[in-house]
């Protein structure tokens, strides 16, 4: 092993007895929403969540799509980060209910629901939040809760 491999999810090796699998910090919340999972490159990814069609405003766990695009402060070790995406009508409102940051000059870093986060714009009504993975449960709950009155809910990544 090279010196910093113990930081790397990609350095895991499956052999006969062992089959390491990487999970997102939001894995449990997705399971509770009865998500269907698929293993992609050693990571479990939620592909579909029952009832997701009803939500025009979607919350997706996109931790597996890290590292983030150019232009954000590069996180040194991306296993330390989680990401979720808010997209659809009302996405901007959800984000504005969680942060004081102006959304006209993204990407930007600041407090989202009291924790440090990067906000990226991926499209007209599509935002990504990038934050320390230990807040995964917390921010997922907060974002889903904020989206609910606007008709939002969790969605998988097909």
């Amino acid at each position: 092993m090279s010196e910093l491999d113990f930081l790397s999810v990609e350095a895991a090796r499956a052999d006969g007895r062992f089959r390491p699998v990487a999970r997102s910090p939001m894995d449990r919340r997705l399971r509770e929403a009865r998500a269907e999972f698929e293993e992609r490159g050693g990571r479990l990814v939620a592909t579909r969540i029952p009832g997701e069609e009803e939500h025009a405003l979607a919350i997706r766990d996109v931790t597996h799509l890290l590292p983030p695009p150019e232009g954000t402060e590069p996180p040194e070790t991306h296993a330390g980060f989680a990401a979720l995406e808010i997209s659809g009508p009302g996405a901007g409102t959800v984000v504005r209910r969680l942060t004081e940051m102006p959304l006209d000059d993204l990407p930007a870093a600041g407090a989202v629901a009291h924790i440090r986060s990067w906000i990226l714009r991926e499209g007209d009504e599509t935002y990504r939040l990038l934050f320390e993975q230990e807040y995964g449960h917390y921010l997922w709950d907060v974002v889903v809760d904020a989206a609910e009155p606007l008709g939002g809910g969790p969605k998988g990544t097909p």
């Binding site: 092993m1 910093l4 491999d5 999970r23 330390g80 230990e134 807040y135």
Partner: protein, 867 residues
């Protein structure tokens, strides 16, 4: 009461809505407010006043005064005059014993006057002291507003929303709409907010309605109440178009039901097609009020007398009523029967928001009103709020009545009469700010909207000065009452969770807070968990440890200078314990440092110390110019400690690494695949048994946790929590920074003098520690044990008694199942810090004798750790 259909009315007669009032159904139309529908159903008394429980009816019909506050669907203090009707709403009166028309507490109005002057509770109910709780309970129930529903937080949802705009216009009157339109033409991002009740003319720009700006804060922050959402606007430019407010006149009987502000009556006619009364007298202070006479006639109200107060100087006004309802008014001795008295003085610019933003307010003696001046940058005022209120009457502070049989209210929110104000001045409260606090005038729900100008005028007359001398009181947010739920917003409680969090919960762990982290306290039986570690094999999640990488050619020299012990000579793949000190030589944090190669160190910190340590490192790195790179990998890595005699066996099953005692010695650091996961393996022993810390990528945490528990099942593996760890580390006398040390502790006195390498040229805190060495230790952190079989454990923070006086304190104490007795750590005077010294510990309401132990209780020579 309802008039026939009229052009421009806001009600929709085809849309019938029913709500209940005191359980009885009330019919309303869409577009009605609860207040207008109740009035249409014949209700005239809407509330009972704060102190005297006097009947009160609709006064302003614009959500400013306290007269129509009721409890709607459990929410207290709702101004029903502006609250839109909704199907099935449950409306109840408040602050009333029995019923609005027959309130038992109204007796205070008849007999209470002489006994309950302003501020009476400050003087009369203070003795005997023990009786105050009784008095207080009575006063609270007798006076006041609606009852707060303590469980409302769970019933109603409040959100906070942030919006950044170029221009925010507050107030949707003509001037506000024009300002917004101009901004829109300039291509600016503009939002207009208006509190209602009249709808705003829409011209294509966004309008928030009904919505109330509750203040202007620093940085042009304007929180706006919009239903259940608090919208926090940040605007580059704020336009205040809040208009002007009709001011009531002060005369005996001025709060009777049927005495209204002209604007209130106009809204009743125009918006809801209601006839406000049968026979009306109008006392007009400006053209608007004067024009109301015609509208009243058109609505079928007989107008028996109109007085233009600008032309006709009245000396006496007095209103009389029965059962709190207006029956006649006397004007300079002429008595007129009427059931509606529309009276107002000048319209006072609603300058509060401007004053909050920093504008000066000056008195315009010619018109008898206060007007804003010197607006701060980024704030603009338009329309009536600037003082453009036309020609208005300058009315006297109070009108005397002929007989003076009834009270004259200066503040209807708090039931403060003109006599109360005079009395306060006579008692020496001659500054307006003091009098405000003593009488509570302007401090009620209207926030001075209807009482500020009259009270200043009254003050000026009583103190024989003028309004300009008296000045105004400081304007502070909120400008209008706002529910606490809205200010609190959605409850968010940030918590850090390790990547194994859910596994702990699956196993029935009781979670506890440690700093921002949630950690397992235990999985049910901490003592059994501790025993398993001694007997076979335990597994604990230690992902919360702070984890830093320190890289660069100078990394070794950097650490050497930061820590009091040596790191330059630490060999690659070896680990050393380190205590980080402040400049003052105090213990700041501790942890292990592993050297991964010549220029790379892996530093662990306490669970709550990671951020402080990284800042400390960055600070000194900059000061010394070392060019060392520090990376926080706390979240990126999960970590577990595999501890117990069977730990080597389990580790060996999962890795190709040679785990023999010769190849992987105590305090060795190796990298290896463990069950296919890349790990940093640290052989250390915080809990005293043979053990290995595995640090690995967080996303693999659940997998590795499951694999370790599964593969170790036949070895008796069991997860253990923080509580078991605390017992085990105490058996080893391993300290917890922050628990056993405080911000004054130094390593010399905290039992770690061996750590300090005096021969080093310099390290952070060396100078301070040299002084401690010179003066000698005063108190020391030592281990102690109590008698075998003693069932209870001293409290953490408990006292050590020396010669009958407090002489030390217990910092940690636990029952050790291994030793069968209570053990702990304590600070004791230095003369007692020797092996076997007797100490007296205050506990169980008495004293117990303990014995000082300087060596670990368990495995004192560390043989277990090294085997």
């Amino acid at each position: 009461m309802r008039l026939g259909p009229r052009p421009g009315e806001r009600i929709d007669r085809s849309d019938e809505v029913t709500f209940t009032f005191r359980g009885k159904p009330v019919k309303a139309f869409g577009g009605d407010t609860i207040g207008s529908a109740l009035f249409a159903s014949g209700q005239r008394i809407f509330s009972r006043s704060f102190k005297y429980h006097r009947p009160r009816g609709l006064l302003c019909c614009s959500g400013h005064c306290p007269n129509c506050m009721m409890t709607v669907d459990g929410e207290p203090n709702v101004r029903v005059c502006v609250e839109p009707v909704r199907e099935g709403a449950r409306v109840k009166p408040q602050n009333v014993r029995w019923w609005l028309n027959w309130d038992l507490m109204a007796v205070t109005d008849k007999i209470g006057g002489p006994f309950t002057p302003v501020g009476f509770y400050y003087r009369t109910m203070i003795r005997p002291r023990r009786a105050w709780p009784l008095f207080e309970r009575f006063l609270r129930s007798a006076a006041g507003l609606g009852r707060v529903d303590k469980h409302a937080g769970r019933k109603r949802r409040f959100d906070t929303e942030n919006r950044h705009v170029d221009v925010l216009v507050i107030g949707g009157g003509r001037s506000g709409v024009e300002a917004a339109r101009q901004a829109q033409i300039r291509g600016e991002d503009v939002v207009l907010v208006d509190e209602g009740p009249e709808p705003v003319e829409r011209l294509g720009f966004p309008v928030l309605w009904p919505a109330r700006a509750i203040g202007i804060y620093e940085g042009n922050l304007v929180p706006v109440e919009a239903g259940s959402t608090l919208v926090r606007f940040r605007a580059k430019h704020i336009v205040v178009a809040t208009g002007a407010l009709e001011q009531p006149l002060l005369f005996p009987g001025n709060d009777l039901v049927g005495v209204m502000l002209p604007g209130g009556a106009r809204r009743m006619i125009e918006l809801w097609s209601l006839r406000p009364g049968r026979r009306a007298v109008v006392l007009a202070g400006d053209d608007r009020a004067l024009a109301l006479a015609g509208e009243l006639e058109a609505a079928g109200t007989e107008v028996v007398r109109v007085v233009d107060l600008r032309r006709e100087q009245l000396r006496e006004i007095e209103a009389w009523g029965r059962y709190g309802r207006l029956e006649s008014v006397s004007l300079d001795g002429e008595t007129i029967a009427c059931d509606l008295l529309l009276a107002s003085g000048a319209r006072q610019p609603a300058y509060s928001l401007l004053a909050q933003a920093g504008a000066r307010v000056e008195y315009d003696a010619k018109r008898g009103i206060f007007v804003p001046a010197d607006l701060p940058d980024g704030i603009e005022a338009v329309g009536a709020v600037t003082g453009r209120v036309g020609r208005v009457a300058v009315t006297p502070a109070t009108f005397n009545g002929a007989s003076r049989t009834d009270k004259c209210f200066a503040c209807i929110c708090e039931d403060v009469t003109d006599k109360d104000m005079k009395r306060a001045i006579a008692e020496g409260f001659d500054s307006l700010e003091l009098a405000k606090r003593y009488t509570t005038v302007t401090m009620g729900p209207c926030q001075g909207k209807l009482c500020h100008l009259p009270s200043i005028r009254l003050y000026a007359r009583e103190t024989e000065t003028d309004e300009a001398t008296i000045g105004t009181t400081t304007a502070r947010p909120p400008w209008a009452p706002v529910s606490l739920g809205l200010l609190a917003g959605r409850p968010h409680e940030p918590a850090k969770r390790t990547s194994m969090h859910d596994r702990h919960k699956d196993l029935g762990a009781r979670m506890m807070w440690t700093g921002a982290w949630r950690r397992p306290h235990s999985y049910g039986d901490p003592e059994a968990e501790a025993k398993v570690v001694h007997d076979s094999l335990g597994l604990i999640d230690v992902s919360t440890l702070g984890k830093l990488l320190v890289r660069g050619p100078d990394a070794a020299a950097f650490l050497e200078r930061l820590y009091p012990n040596r790191f330059a000579d630490l060999k690659v793949d070896r680990i050393r314990y380190g205590v980080l000190g402040t400049d003052g030589g105090r213990v700041m944090d501790d942890g292990t440092i592993a050297r991964l190669d010549e220029e790379l160190f892996y530093v662990t910190t306490t669970s709550t110390g990671a951020n402080t340590v990284i800042e400390w490192f960055d600070w000194w790195n900059a000061v010394w110019g070392f060019g060392v790179e520090t990376t926080n990998v706390t979240g990126a890595l999960a970590a577990v400690n595999l501890a117990g005699p069977n730990s080597r066996e389990l580790l060996g099953r999962l890795t190709d690494l040679d785990v023999s005692n010769e190849a992987l010695k105590y305090l060795d650091a190796k990298r290896a695949q463990v069950a296919g996961v890349p790990c940093l393996v640290l052989r250390i022993g915080f809990v005293g048994e043979l053990g290995y810390e595995l640090h690995f990528p967080s996303p693999h945490a659940e997998y590795l946790w499951d694999t370790l528990l599964g593969e170790g099942a036949d070895l008796g593996i069991r997860p253990f929590g923080l509580e078991a760890q605390r017992i085990l580390r105490l058996e080893k006398q391993h300290i917890l920074v922050g628990q056993d040390t405080d911000s004054e502790s130094n390593p010399l006195e905290a039992g770690m003098p061996w750590l300090v390498k005096w021969e080093k040229d310099d390290f952070v805190g060396k100078w301070a520690l040299e002084h401690v060495r010179e003066r000698g230790p005063r108190e020391q952190l030592v281990g102690f044990e109590l008698a075998e079989g003693l069932g209870s454990v001293p409290a953490e923070g408990g006292q050590i008694v020396v010669d009958g006086k407090p002489g030390g304190r217990v910092t940690s104490a636990r029952w050790s199942p291994q030793l069968g007795r209570p053990i702990g750590l304590a600070w004791v005077p230095s003369r007692l810090a020797h092996e076997g010294a007797e100490i007296t510990i205050k506990m169980n309401g008495g004293f117990e004798q303990g014995r000082v132990r300087l060596k670990p209780f368990f495995d004192p020579d560390g043989g277990q750790l090294r085997s």
